[in-house]
Symmetry: C2
Subunit: 351 residues, 2 copies
């Protein structure tokens, strides 16, 4: 059903120049995808950290007024837990105090969808106080002449779904926060439904509720309401830990096709698919009860965070879905699916 590209991984950290001399690239993954000027565009998430290492300190990068600054943590400071390589944990508050890497967005272009030219410099970086710990996981939706980039803004204030608009990937609107924290995996439908814009998102609740996908509506793309629960984790199995939207929903005669990520309770990620009603996207009409793709190849099983396949976008070309996905949180990979076969599978499997 799904075929990995033989050149996988198609982009790795070797293909990405650090944004300054004192930084190194830790990962390039979870790219938003669209078509612009007949080229396939990836808006890559590039994670960087300081080149300088020390036995006594951990150096964490962050943005302040658009510049990258360094925060030093003493490794023997008992108030912090450094055991998770991705985060600095404040033990007393049981809260994340900072990230060990800082993400920005980098443009990459391709004619064939496999060989990409990666921009030399960051395309978008953390700008506001809500982005001081970086920007992550873009999804790009085209409507009219506008490209809407939805992403997670990260800072001490939380994880906030945010939006930037562009017509040309050269000049960009100011960022706007579109949902309160803690929430991520936001993606906009490519057209209005029942005269409203629609959005998928994945709240991260503290006490009650699971890591499920929700649907909301808007008249202006900035203010969102009518929040509805859409798609649940399962009791057990590959999607029992979390689910979250992937790329832009694909309109088909059978409904809105969504390819989304799932993980089990041990953070083993996979990609799977569902169909939502065209007229009432709050209704899930069909859903696969198995993964389309799970971490099986070495480049998916080993990396910055192991056993992750995570998609923020796909394009459809001559009936083939080009599914771009982050592998083990540090590389970009590509897999292809025949759209018709996937639709048949969805419709049959749910009978």
């Amino acid at each position: 059903m799904i075929k990995r590209d033989k050149n996988n991984p198609i982009i790795t950290i070797k293909d990405v120049k650090p944004s300054s001399e004192d930084l190194i690239v830790m990962g390039v993954f979870n790219a938003g995808v669209t078509i612009f000027n007949d080229e396939i565009i990836l808006l890559l998430r590039v994670a960087e950290t300081f080149k300088e290492k020390s036995d006594k300190y951990l150096f964490a990068p962050y943005y302040e007024k658009g510049k990258i600054k360094k925060k030093s943590y003493k490794l023997n400071d008992k108030s912090f837990d450094f055991s998770d390589s991705r985060v600095i944990l404040n033990k007393a508050r049981k809260k994340i105090e900072g990230l060990t890497s800082l993400s920005h967005f980098r443009l990459a272009k391709s004619k064939d969808g496999v060989n990409f030219e990666v921009a030399e410099k960051p395309t978008l970086s953390g700008k506001t106080k809500y982005e001081s710990w970086g920007i992550e996981d873009a999804r790009i939706t085209k409507m009219g002449n506008n490209y809407y980039i939805l992403y997670s803004a990260i800072s001490q204030y939380g994880v906030l779904p945010s939006m930037i608009v562009t017509k040309d990937f050269c000049s960009f609107s100011e960022p706007k926060t579109i949902l309160p924290p803690e929430n991520k995996d936001v993606v906009l439908f490519p057209e209005k439904i029942n005269n409203k814009y629609h959005l998928l998102h994945r709240p991260v609740p503290f006490g009650i509720g699971n890591l499920d996908i929700w649907l909301s509506t808007s008249d202006d793309l900035v203010h969102w309401g009518n929040h509805k629960h859409l798609l649940s984790v399962s009791e057990r199995g590959f999607d029992s830990g979390r689910v979250g939207a992937g790329g832009v929903p694909i309109k088909t005669p059978h409904g809105w096709l969504i390819i989304y990520h799932a993980a089990d309770k041990n953070n083993n990620y996979s990609l799977t698919a569902a169909l939502l009603s065209l007229e009432e996207p709050e209704v899930v009409t069909h859903k696969l009860n198995f993964p389309l793709l799970k971490a099986e190849e070495d480049y998916e099983k080993e990396g910055f965070f192991n056993n992750v396949v995570f998609s923020c976008g796909e394009i459809v070309k001559k009936g083939i879905i080009y599914l771009y996905y982050g592998a083990a949180d540090d590389k970009m990979a590509l897999a292809r699916i025949d759209k018709k076969k996937l639709l048949n599978l969805l419709i049959e499997k749910d009978k």
Copy 2:
């Protein structure tokens, strides 16, 4: 500065008739407050549970299609943790599986603001699937002829800020979810500012961020955006654990006066105050660095949940703020503050 009413607590469970014969009232607290037809109106949160007790089972009430149903948990079922009297905890998921009591809203009316007549029957109960575990902590804002009731809808899907509108407290609009989960302590400003409606809310983040107060704007009261961080917990002291909005912000020449709750890291609650800029309410101009009121009286220190003072509303009458508050999560109490003195305190203390 603040004076408790000599009749405190002014409403207790003895004053509230259960909504059916098989239920008992566990608490009456956290009432929304407004003035309607020259009377002071409280929209009480009434928490109930089943009268029937068993050594082998815990019986949890919930709403299904507007009716109260019973769910039985075996007390020897090792998958649950029953140690917190308020909730049933799923040990594997580390998530709340259900509540031990079910809350609805009950109207109470008074001419003098001290002696209240409590309605015989529930005024509003859980109606939608987002309210199957009850409705909690109403705040009432009057604009034009409409009263906007903002509250927390509780269910397996999470804690969702929701809104119901009424003109007469007899007929009510359908509930609408206005912010995604997990979020609570929502209250609407009593007028538009810069041509936008404004809302205070308190997200409950999982991984990053604190239990802080946020501000959002809307054109239509249903769709919300431009989420801004407003007021933080402190590093230490009475407000180091959480803060959350109380009643409707009071317009004064010095700014929007907000009386809000705070708690330290051990869940000792108090009430305190701040001033927000009239024109730019995202700016906190003054803030008390001590409690106005903390749990000191027996009825505040002992109850369903100890050491809680929690306000969802106040009214101002001849320069006196009548601050209504829930005490120990099971009674209603009243305290009075001279508005002018409080404003002077705020303005002086912040110099």
